[in-house]
């Protein structure tokens, strides 16, 4: 087997182990949270018998390990259990919905927003990073650095409100609310999500741009860059042909980190724009102690991190000729 495929399989296996450990930590830490869903729903005045009956209905009376394996087994077969909320607590009709059903449309929305932000920010960051390295220490370089640093220094909600003020309230170019409904067609979605996507872009572009610039400049002192210069290569050839191919590993790591952030860290932006994403769902579920939904969201976040880092690892490996073409 080619060593690269072996390494990728190893990383994949390692990722699964990590995900398993995450599920364990997640389940047990929620278990040790103070408070109880039954009491939270029924109120402190509820009779102990009522609370007990309610817990029994939800399966909370079973020992922890049994519930854990039940839950884990469910996830492996694509069933994340049912939400706690909407249950008929005392003989009423059971209107609780499967977690998957709650999560799926929200996840689709989150991924849509994340993709939009990524499609704008990654090429932009690479372009700015490469050109800043090319024109190092010029006015251009300083301006790009200062601007991206400024946007990353403001809190997200502040950037969001500034954009709303500028692009929505005054100029009416984009809507300030991104409360898309499930039937919206593609271009309408793009239009509605423009401002949140722009906010996220401004927040993450600095990190990626600076890493691109630093990774390239870091290589500029290498003997093979001097050699390229002595071979008469132009400045842009030196950067694009000689430095960039060797700089991918650190750049991709930072890109993956930021893409993961786009999925798991955007709750503030979702709230500002009233965007129905996973972040809001999770925050709502935490306040109502809807444990299955919290667990489902958390597992999705963990899987996102692991997958994107795996992706970064793979890119690092295949851009390293020592690994791709062993002796």
């Amino acid at each position: 087997m080619h060593p690269v495929i072996r390494t990728i399989l190893q990383r994949l296996g390692l990722g699964l182990v990590t995900l398993f450990v995450v599920s364990l930590i997640l389940f047990s830490s929620i278990e040790f949270l103070p408070g109880d869903f039954g009491e939270a729903v029924l109120g402190q005045a509820a009779l102990p018998e009522t609370v007990e009956a309610f817990r029994k209905e939800l399966g909370l009376h079973l020992p922890m390990h049994e519930r854990y394996f039940d839950w884990l087994g469910g996830i492996l077969t694509g069933d994340m259990g049912n939400s706690f909320s909407g249950r008929g607590s005392s003989g009423g009709q059971d209107r609780s919905r499967p977690v998957i059903e709650l999560l799926a449309p929200r996840l689709a929305n989150t991924l849509f927003l994340a993709s939009m932000a990524a499609i704008i920010s990654v090429p932009l960051a690479l372009f700015l990073g490469i050109t800043a390295a090319l024109y190092r220490n010029t006015i251009y370089d300083r301006t790009v650095n200062a601007l991206t640093l400024t946007t990353i220094s403001f809190p997200e909600f502040f950037v969001a409100y500034l954009l709303i003020l500028g692009l929505s309230s005054f100029t009416k170019i984009f809507p300030s609310l991104a409360n898309i409904d499930p039937d919206a067609v593609f271009w309408e979605r793009v239009y509605l999500t423009a401002l949140p996507a722009l906010t996220l872009t401004l927040v993450i572009v600095a990190h990626m741009m600076r890493m691109t610039r630093a990774a390239i400049i870091n290589l500029m002192a290498s003997p093979y860059i001097e050699m390229a210069d002595l071979k008469g290569a132009s400045k842009s050839e030196i950067i694009l042909r000689h430095a960039l191919p060797n700089a991918w590993a650190p750049i991709v790591t930072v890109i993956a980190f930021n893409l993961a952030y786009l999925v798991v860290g955007v709750v503030v932006v979702e709230v500002v724009f009233v965007y129905p994403g996973v972040g809001q769902l999770m925050v709502d579920a935490v306040t109502t102690r809807d444990v299955p939904v919290v667990q489902g969201c958390a597992m999705i976040f963990a899987a996102t991190y692991i997958l994107l880092n795996l992706f970064a690892d793979i890119i690092s490996i295949i851009t390293n000729p020592r690994l791709l073409h062993p002796r």
Binding site: S222, P223, Y224, E226, M227, A228, D229, L230, K231, G232, A233, S234, E237, R241, H242, P245, N246, T319, P321, R322, H325, R327
Partner: protein, 547 residues
Amino acid sequence: MSDQKKGKKGDILLEMKDIVIDGYSDDRWHEIVKGVDITLRRGEVMGLIGESGAGKSTLGLAAMGFARPGCRLTSGSIMFDGIDLMKASAEERRALRGSRIAYVAQSAAASFNPAHQLIEQTVESTVRKGIKPEEEAKSDARKLYRDLQLPNPDHIGDRYPHQVSGGQLQRVMTAMAMSPRPDLIIFDEPTTALDVTTQVEVLASMRRIVEQYNTAAIYITHDLAVVAQMADVIKVLRYGETIEDADTRSMLSDPKKEYTKSLWSVRSIEKPEDKSEDVILKVDHVDASYTGSAKVLDDVTIEVPRGDTVAIVGESGSGKSTTARAITGLLPPSKGQVLFNGKPLPPTLKERSVDQLQKIQMIYQMADTAMNPRHTVRDIIGRPLEFYLGLRGRERDQRLLELVEMIELNEDFIDRLPAELSGGQKQRICIARALAADPELIICDEVTSALDQIVQKGILELLLRLQKELGLTYIFITHDIATVKAISDQIVVMLEGRVVEQGMKSEILAPPYPDYTKLLLSSVPEMDPDWLTGLLAERAREGSATA
């Protein structure tokens, strides 16, 4: 068309007059080249020779109209075939590089881009500058690989830099320089990083190809014997100034300046051979390997007589340094043992007593990296005095001073940091650190390889004097035969983890030789411009005789 462009042999190609180059350090500009003239004709090879810091590389790069970051071409004129490089724009100079002037760097391993195939890099400037279309350039590159006697010339270009050896990379780099058929090639210490046996092959192929295409070249090196094989004329530089200019033969037969003579000073040390019967250390049938890999040492047996110097010689990868690691306990042998004063030493460092550690000390090749840059000389030498001898306070300082004087420095140096010392002084401090432990045996691992000839001589003389005064035993690991001749009593020749030959210096260095020893000894360049020609002719004769 190319004949017209090339002009006639003997025309002046490059004329540099009164070149001054500044370098920036310690917050100000210093002159590093102080008014040097160079005149080079078409098809001529000039050797630029001098110690590190002489400004050779800086001058060589200036011939391309190039200054490294932190350097600037201050004044003088550089005329390359009618083009004034000092007045030319950056773009005009760039257009010449990689088409009419090419460069071969010292470390081929670091100077090739790890991300691209060798042939892509070989033809890069030829294709980009529109000298030849890609397919033609590539087939020409394969022809050059063949001319340079690279193995598998049709396919070696498809490999990546990490997949071929250093000697092969250096030849690929020569092919890369030759690909656009430049008028001038700058060779910047191209064989310094290679083993002597590899160096001979690379030198021979570089010389052949420069002659074949009638290319002018500037060959930069610190090794006069190497440059003697390559150059028609030699220029000796020191501190950025010309010391002596002459054609190669008269330079070698009749050097005018004292400094030129001193460039082969190591070769002038003579040590009377000594034969002691008392064995201080015996490496007894030792095998060793790094985790998971093949044997690096294979049944190595070496006897070291007390008070003598045993030189271990061989190419890189022959197991010289691994033997040192096995003796010091850094790498426990997988078989066999090491006997010190007749008693077996525990295999690993951890199991050895302080007393056993104290008796064997080590000095390394890179004095720079062997010292903590944040420790003063007092800390560096004081530490073994406290650790092994338990000296404190006044006693310690007294001994510290004695040691510093023993290595021919004085108390002014005691509170300096390594960065405030020259290369030779650093190595002296490392010697003092080893002496501080009051050892019986010192292992010197390539201790002079990174130093200039004159400094080397000083270090070797110091080591010999200390040996005489203190009765020390040395194991001297080196690949430099001149050093071996200067310092050793006994010689051990190693190849691929095995001892090929072992005996007194006079026996090993006199015929009859086993094949490998002969190859190693005959590969050491001699101060004779006909040495390489003679050697190649002899090897060709033997080759055809055995075939």
